[in-house]
C-alpha cells in the first residue's frame, strides 16, 4: 500500500507539472506541436577548424603539468613539440578558450568496448567531417587533392608533427604500413574493400617526405570520403589498432619494426612472442598495434593510454606532442586525464551515471531510463541532452530475401506485396510510445530527411504507415485469404497455418524481442502468425550467414552514409548481411560465389551502387537517392522507428563542463563524439 501511495503521489506531482505546463503546451500546439523530447534536443553546433594560415596564433602555451616537465628538462619546450607554425591544426572552440586540468570520468564495459574511447581519440583520422557531418575537413592531413580523373587522391601531411614519443610523422610511416603491413599476406590476408575499386587494388606512393598519393586504376573520387569516414583505411591508427585488424593507412614504423620478421628474423620475433605469452609474432604484433592494450605504442591522438583496457580501469593522460592548438595558441587538449572504470554491465553504468559519477557519458546510456536521469539531474548536478541519430530504423525487420528453408515462405518473402502487407500491419506509433518514449520517428528505413542522401521526406512514410485494411487486401490477393478458427491465415500450399519466424537478438541497446512481441500482437489483426525467437547475437549472425533466417530484427545504423557503411541497407558485404547473405556473396565475389538475386530491382540497385564509387560527388548523390528509392519501394528491410537517440544519443554532461555543444551529430562516420572535438572540452 505504501508503494501505491508513493506512486500515486509521484504521478499526481507529474500531473501537476503537466498541468502547469499546459499553457505552454497549448501555445506550442497552436504553432506546430513540437515532437516529444524537443526540450532536450538543442541546436546542432560544434567547433570549427581554422584553415586560413593568416589567422593562426603565433605564440603558444601548454598545460601546467607539461610546463613542469619542460622546466625539469624532461620535455622540449612547446614550440619544439608542435608542428611548424603554418602546419598546425587550429581549432576554434565552440564557446570560449578553455582552462587546463581535470580528470574526465566515464564508464566502459570491458576490453571489447574500445570504441568507447576510440571515438574520443579520433583526431588521428587522416581527414574528418565537420560538426554537421556533411563537409570534409582536414585532420591528421592538413590538405588533400583529388585528381580530375578521380584516379589519384593526394594528402599533405603536417611538417613537424610528431608521434607521442617525439619522433616525427612522415610519409615513411605511411609507406611502412603499406609495404610492411598491408601487403604482407600473413598480417592482412585479404585486401580492404575500401582500398579497391571494382575489385582492383589501389596503391600507395610516396611523393615526398610529407606527401602521399593513393592511386587507383579506375576513377575512384569517392576515396577521399573513405579517408574521412570511419573505415579501415581512414579511421586513424589508434582506432584501427584497437580493432586489431591492421587498418589505418599509417603506423609508427620506428616502434613496430622490432616486431616484424623482416627487420630481424622470423625466429627472433616468434621467440619474442612466446616469451610474452603469445602464440606467434602475428598475435604479438596485433597486441602491440593496439593503443588500448599497449601503453608503449606511439600515437598521434590527444590522449594516450596509461593503464590498458584489459584492466578494471582504462586510463589515459595527455599526449605532450599533440599537434593541435586553439585560436589563442594553447596546446590542446585541455583535459589532463580520462579515466574509464569497468562496469560489469550496462545497468551498472547507467546507475553510476544517474548517481552523477561520470563527467560526460553518452555511451551505454539507455533511452528507457530517461525519466530516472531527468529526476536525478539536479541531485547529480548534470544535464541530459538528446542527440537523435540519422538512420531510419533502430529496429529494422530484415527480410530473409535469400532464405531457402521453406519453399512457400521463401516465395512469400521474395514477394514485394507480402513485405508491404507486413509493413502496413505494424502500428509504429505504438512501438515508438512503448520503447522509444515517443521520441523516435516512425517510418521506413530511409535516412533522416535532412541528410544528403535522403530521397525526400515522403519516402520516410512510404509503405510505412499503419493501414491494416490495405494489408489485409494485399494478403487476400496473394492467395492467403483462407483463415483458421483463430483468425490466422492458412498457407496456400495446404500445410496449415501460415507461421513466420522472427529472430531477435537479446541483450542489445534496443529491446528487439519486446518489439517483436508487440509486432506479433499487431500482426494478429492482419491474420499473420509469427514465432518470436530470441537468440544470442553470434548464433543469429551465423544463421544469417547460412541464409537460415526468415526475418531478423537488427538496426540499420550507418546506413545514412550509404557508401561508407552499406551493409545495413543493401546485401553487398560478405562479412555481415542480414537481408540476403547469398546475394552479398554474389556481389562481393563479382559473381563467382553466392547466388544471383532474381529480383531485377536488386540488380539495378547493385549496379548503381557499384558505379557510385567512381562517380563525382554530385552524380553520386543523385545515385544514392535513386538507390534509396528502390530500397524503400522494395522494402527488403522493413523500418519501424528510427532517427532516435537510442544509440549513444542520451548524453549526460556534468554542469561544470565547458564547450559542450547543445546537440552533436550522432552518426558513425563522424565518430561521435569526435565531431565535437573533445580536445576542446574543459572543466570550468
Amino acid at each position: 500500500m505504501e508503494m501505491k501511495r508513493a506512486v500515486s503521489v509521484l504521478s499526481s506531482f507529474g500531473l501537476a507539472a503537466a498541468l502547469a505546463l499546459c499553457p505552454a503546451v497549448v501555445a506550442a500546439q497552436a504553432a506546430a506541436s513540437p515532437p516529444l523530447g524537443a526540450s532536450l534536443i538543442g541546436k546542432l553546433e560544434g567547433p570549427t577548424i581554422i584553415t586560413d594560415v593568416k589567422d593562426y596564433p603565433k605564440t603558444f602555451k601548454e598545460a601546467p603539468t607539461l610546463d613542469a616537465q619542460v622546466k625539469a628538462g624532461k620535455l622540449p619546450p612547446v614550440e619544439k613539440r608542435l608542428p611548424d607554425e603554418s602546419q598546425l591544426l587550429v581549432i576554434k572552440p565552440l564557446r570560449e578558450i578553455g582552462k587546463y586540468g581535470g580528470n574526465w570520468r566515464r564508464a566502459f564495459t570491458g576490453p571489447a568496448d574500445h570504441e568507447n574511447a576510440n571515438r574520443i581519440n579520433s583526431a588521428d583520422k587522416i581527414l574528418t567531417f565537420d560538426y554537421t557531418g556533411t563537409k570534409i575537413v582536414p585532420s591528421l592531413a592538413r590538405d588533400w587533392k583529388v585528381s580530375d580523373d578521380g584516379k589519384t587522391t593526394t594528402i599533405y601531411l603536417r611538417k613537424g608533427a610528431k608521434w607521442s614519443d617525439g619522433k616525427p610523422l612522415t610519409a615513411d610511416d605511411f609507406m611502412f604500413w603499406y609495404e610492411d603491413i598491408y601487403l604482407n599476406k600473413n598480417i592482412v590476408p585479404t585486401p580492404f574493400f575500401e582500398f579497391q575499386i571494382n575489385g582492383k587494388d589501389g596503391k600507395m606512393r610516396k611523393v615526398d617526405d610529407f606527401t602521399v598519393a593513393f592511386e587507383f586504376p579506375e576513377p575512384y573520387s569517392f576515396f577521399v570520403y573513405q579517408l574521412a569516414g570511419s573505415t579501415g583505411i581512414g579511421a586513424g591508427f589508434a582506432t584501427r589498432g584497437a580493432f586489431q585488424n591492421f587498418g589505418g593507412a599509417y603506423a609508427p614504423a620506428h616502434y613496430l619494426k622490432q616486431f616484424l620478421p623482416k627487420y630481424s628474423s622470423e625466429d627472433a620475433v616468434n621467440k619474442k612472442a612466446k616469451d610474452l605469452g603469445f602464440d606467434n609474432w602475428v598475435s604479438l604484433l596485433k597486441n602491440r598495434y593496439s593503443w588500448a592494450l599497449n601503453n608503449e605504442v606511439p600515437v598521434m591522438t590527444p590522449w594516450k593510454t596509461v593503464s590498458p583496457i584489459n584492466t578494471p580501469t582504462w586510463s589515459m593522460e595527455r599526449n605532450p606532442y599533440f599537434w593541435a592548438v586553439d585560436t589563442a595558441g594553447n596546446q590542446l587538449p585541455y583535459i589532463d586525464r580520462i579515466t574509464l572504470t569497468l562496469a560489469e554491465n550496462t545497468e551498472v553504468a547507467n546507475l553510476r551515471a544517474i548517481a552523477g559519477e561520470f563527467d560526460i557519458q553518452e555511451r551505454h546510456m539507455g533511452l528507457n531510463k530517461l525519466p530516472v536521469f531527468l529526476e536525478n539531474a539536479k541531485k547529480g548536478n548534470y544535464t541530459v541532452r538528446l542527440d537523435p541519430g540519422l538512420n531510419g530504423a533502430d529496429v529494422a525487420l530484415h527480410m530473409g530475401n535469400s532464405y531457402e528453408g521453406d519453399a512457400e515462405i521463401a516465395k512469400l518473402l521474395r514477394n514485394k506485396d507480402f513485405r508491404h502487407a507486413l509493413s502496413l500491419g505494424i502500428d509504429r506509433d505504438q512501438l515508438n510510445e512503448a520503447f522509444w518514449l515517443g521520441v523516435g520517428a516512425s517510418g521506413s528505413v530511409a535516412p533522416a530527411p535532412d541528410t544528403i542522401y535522403s530521397p525526400g521526406p515522403e519516402w520516410n512514410k512510404k509503405w510505412a504507415v499503419y493501414d491494416p485494411k490495405q494489408a489485409n487486401e494485399l494478403l487476400d490477393k496473394l492467395g492467403l485469404s483462407k483463415k483458421d478458427s483463430d483468425g490466422y491465415r492458412l498457407r496456400a500450399d495446404g500445410k496449415g497455418r501460415l507461421r513466420l519466424e522472427m529472430i531477435t537478438v537479446g541483450g542489445s541497446f534496443v529491446p528487439f524481442t519486446a518489439v517483436g512481441e508487440m509486432i506479433k500482437q499487431q500482426w494478429k489483426k492482419i491474420g499473420v502468425d509469427v514465432d518470436i525467437k530470441e537468440m544470442e547475437r553470434n548464433l543469429a549472425f551465423t544463421r544469417d550467414n547460412n541464409n537460415e533466417n526468415q526475418i531478423i530484427t537488427w538496426a540499420n545504423d550507418g546506413s545514412e552514409v550509404l557508401f561508407l557503411f552499406p551493409r545495413h541497407a543493401l546485401p553487398v558485404d560478405a562479412a555481415e548481411s542480414h537481408m540476403g547473405m547469398a546475394f552479398a556473396r554474389w556481389y562481393a565475389s563479382g559473381g563467382t560465389s553466392g547466388k544471383k538475386p532474381d529480383d531485377p530491382e536488386m540488380i539495378k540497385a547493385f549496379d548503381l551502387f557499384r558505379a557510385s564509387y567512381g562517380m563525382k560527388d554530385e552524380e553520386r548523390t543523385k545515385a544514392a537517392k535513386e538507390i534509396w528509392k528502390i530500397i524503400v519501394e522494395q522494402e527488403w528491410s522493413i523500418g519501424t522507428v528510427g532517427q532516435s537517440p537510442a544509440f549513444m544519443g542520451v548524453r549526460i554532461v556534468k554542469n561544470n563542463m565547458g564547450n559542450i555543444p547543445d546537440r552533436q551529430i550522432n552518426a558513425q562516420h563522424v565518430r561521435t563524439p569526435h565531431s565535437s572535438w573533445p580536445e576542446t572540452f574543459y572543466f570550468k
Binding site: V7, S8, S39, E347, L374, A434, K533, E536
Partner: protein
C-alpha cells in the same frame, strides 16, 4: 505415537485405539500430518496455487500477451469498495499521456464514470483445458472492454496487465517444478535402488557417476547448457529442455538417499524372510522394501521442489532459462531487473511474493510430511 500405540495395545477395547491399531500406514501419516498446523496451512496454500495454475485463463481477466503502449507502466489501481454505502467495488477509467518534461507516463482517473467490478464476468474467450470454449473470468468489468479499464496490479512497459501475466506465470513456474522433480524421482529411485540393492560393481560404477555429476559446479553447468539450447526451438521445447537439465542434476541427491535406505534395509529381518520364502527380487524390492521408505522419498521430493522453482526463476531472470514470450515468474522478474526500472515502476517486484510464498509453502509442507513419515521422532 509409540505411547499411543502402547496404550492402545494395553486397552484394546476403545474404538479410537482399535482404529489406530488397524490403521494403514497412510492413515497414520495423515493423522500425524493433520496435527502440524503450519504444514496443513501450507498445503491449502499450495492447493490454491495449483488451482490458479490449472484455471489460469479463468483467473486472468485479459490476454497476458496483449500489449498496448498507451497503457504502459500504469501503477496498481485503487479499488473503491463502497458505492454509496453498499459493498459494490468499482474503479475509474484511466487516461494517460506522456509528460513532456519528465518523460513519464502520467495517468488521470476519469471520475465521471464508475466502472463496477463484477464477479464471473464475461471477458476474453479462451479454451478451458485446451478444448472447452469458455469466456467467463473470475472478475471483470461488464459492458466495457476489461482491457481498457482494469489494472489490478498495474502494467509493464508494454502495457500488459501484470495480474493476468502473473496467473499464467504461476502455471508455468508451478508445473515446471513438478515435471522436473518427477524426472529426478524416477532416475533417483531406479538408479539409487539398483545401486543399493545389488551392491558390488554396479554400486561402485553408479556411485562414481553420481560423484562426478555432483562435482560439477551447477551454476556454470546450467549457464553452459542453457546457452547451448538451440534457440530455434519453440517455447515449449525450451521449457522441457530446461526442466530436463535441472532434473539431471537433482536426481543425485535422491539417489543417495534411496541407496542409503536400501543398504540399511537390505539387512532387515523382513527382507531376509521374504527371500527365504522365495519371493522374486522385483517383488521384494517393490512390495516390501520400497513402501517402508516411500514416505521419506515423498518428503525429500517435496523439499526438492522449492530449489527447482528458485533455480528456474534465477535462470530465467538471468536470461538463460525461459525467455519471452514465455511467461514465468523468472521472466516477469526480468522486467524488474535493474534499479532504474524499480524506481520508475516498483510494482513490477510484486511477482516476488508468489515466489516466496510458494517456496515457503513447499518447505513447510515438506517438513510436515517428513515429520509425519518418520516414526522415530
Amino acid at each position: 505415537m509409540t505411547a499411543e500405540v502402547a496404550a492402545a495395545v494395553a486397552a484394546p477395547d476403545s474404538v479410537a485405539e482399535q482404529r489406530i491399531a488397524v490403521a494403514t500406514q497412510w492413515q497414520l501419516m495423515w493423522w500425524r500430518f493433520r496435527k502440524h498446523k503450519l504444514a496443513l496451512g501450507a498445503t491449502f496454500v499450495l492447493a490454491a496455487f495449483y488451482l490458479v495454475a490449472i484455471f489460469a485463463d479463468f483467473f486472468a481477466y485479459v490476454d497476458p500477451h496483449a500489449s498496448n503502449a498507451q497503457r504502459s507502466l500504469i501503477a496498481p489501481q485503487w479499488i473503491h469498495w463502497f458505492d454509496e454505502g453498499r459493498l459494490s467495488p468499482y474503479v475509474y477509467g484511466l487516461k494517460g499521456a506522456r509528460d513532456p518534461m519528465t518523460f513519464k507516463r502520467v495517468y488521470k482517473p476519469d471520475t465521471s464514470t464508475k466502472l463496477p467490478i463484477v464477479f464471473f464476468a464475461h471477458g476474453e474467450p479462451y479454451k478451458l483445458f485446451g478444448f472447452i470454449p469458455a469466456d467467463r473470468h473470475l472478475f471483470g468489468i461488464e459492458g466495457t472492454d476489461t482491457a481498457e479499464a482494469l489494472v489490478l496490479l498495474g502494467t509493464d512497459v508494454q502495457g500488459r496487465d501484470l495480474w493476468s501475466r502473473l496467473m499464467f506465470a504461476t502455471r508455468t513456474s508451478m508445473t515446471i517444478g513438478l515435471v522436473s522433480v518427477a524426472l529426478s524421482l524416477v532416475l533417483g529411485v531406479v538408479l539409487g535402488g539398483v545401486s543399493g540393492y545389488f551392491g558390488g560393481l554396479t554400486d561402485t560404477v553408479i556411485q562414481r557417476i553420481i560423484e562426478i555429476l555432483r562435482s560439477i559446479p551447477t551454476i556454470p553447468l546450467w549457464m553452459g547448457l542453457a546457452a547451448a539450447v538451440p534457440s530455434d526451438w519453440s517455447v515449449v521445447q525450451v521449457y522441457f529442455a530446461i526442466t530436463i537439465i535441472i532434473s539431471l542434476i537433482g536426481w543425485t541427491e535422491l539417489a543417495r538417499v534411496v541407496r542409503g535406505r536400501f543398504i540399511s534395509l537390505k539387512h532387515e529381518d523382513f527382507v531376509m524372510a521374504a527371500e527365504l520364502v522365495g519371493c522374486s527380487k522385483p517383488r521384494i524390492i517393490f512390495r516390501h522394501m520400497v513402501p517402508s521408505f516411500i514416505s521419506h522419498i515423498i518428503a525429500a521430493t517435496t523439499l526438492a521442489i522449492p530449489a527447482i522453482i528458485i533455480s528456474e526463476t534465477s535462470l530465467s531472470f538471468l536470461g538463460l532459462g525461459l525467455r519471452p514470450p514465455a511467461i514465468s515468474w523468472g521472466v516477469l522478474l526480468q522486467d524488474a531487473q535493474d534499479v532504474q526500472a524499480l524506481v520508475i515502476s516498483p510494482w513490477l517486484l510484486i511477482t516476488a511474493f508468489p515466489v516466496i510464498v510458494a517456496v515457503l509453502a513447499f518447505n513447510f509442507m515438506g517438513d510436515g510430511i517428513r515429520d509425519a513419515a518418520d516414526p522415530y521422532l
